[in-house]
Homo-oligomer: 132 residues x 2
DNA sequence: TATAATATTATAATCATTACAATTATATGA
DNA sequence: TCATATAATTGTAATGATTATAATATTATA
């Protein structure tokens, strides 16, 4: 998986920031907030501004390479778009887990004339670690 | 359906504000923001403060009588808890529609040891009115 | 190299929500 | 009924993530 090539295929200049954000979001089970992304990138690029993080997110969102997750009020997280999956948020530790779900076979009805562009499934509860 | 009795059953004093908020949220296909709730209540109670709307929402949320919907970044909406349903947001007109979905038979796996307390399904796309 | 286009930065503004303290209304016991 | 405690409501200010805007730096390309 070469993030530089992915970016170029989408006509986006593969700047270091953009490559690094894609890389961060592709780590399994990582669903950072903009702030957490800023912290991560600061380790590698000490002079980066928070604006650059927001700009980078914006560019990647528009290209459809990443995705916003808004399970909770006041907590916007980001995720890569590698495959369809649901998100489980532990209400105890706050961690967000991916889980497998077949988005093409959800048992819904009543949207016959609607054009459905995206589907999100969010669960909340307690994760095994917190439920010992 | 008597909102006053519902509130009393949950040990909540049935103030006029609380009754009215429950009533607003029980209207089918209404998913107001806090701001929109404030506008609605202002029509009936001209002296109401926005703080009272937030307080009332908080009380009803804690009692499990209403529910937050956070489909989009920066747009928190509220919904009654009458039955399980999914939410479809039209990306053209912004309206949020309910749709039927069988939450007890979602095709997911991988959460064997997780305690699942709530499930939300959010779709986005274009509604029939906007897709003429 | 020169120029245009794009990326990055810094600063200030926005705006929904929250915090907090003061006031008002309601419930309950004497 | 009145006094007091409890809860509800209000007003003001603070918070904090995101956005807007303009200036600067970098990159691409002729």
């Amino acid at each position: 998986m070469n993030f530089k090539e992915i970016l170029m295929k989408h006509d986006i200049q593969p700047s270091n920031y953009r490559i690094k954000v894609l890389e961060c979001l592709s780590h399994y089970e990582e669903h950072p907030t903009a702030e957490e992304l800023y912290q991560s990138l600061s380790d590698v690029f000490p002079t980066i501004s928070k604006m650059s993080v927001y700009n980078t997110i914006e560019v990647l969102l528009n290209a459809g390479l990443i995705k916003r997750i808004t399970i909770e009020n006041n907590e916007v997280r980001y995720d890569s778009m590698l495959e369809n999956h649901g998100h489980f948020k532990c209400e105890s530790c706050g961690k967000v887990f991916n889980f497998d779900i077949d988005m093409d076979h959800l048992p819904f009805k009543g949207l016959e004339n609607f054009e459905i562009d995206s589907k999100d499934v969010y669960f909340k509860g307690i994760c095994p670690d917190c439920n010992h």
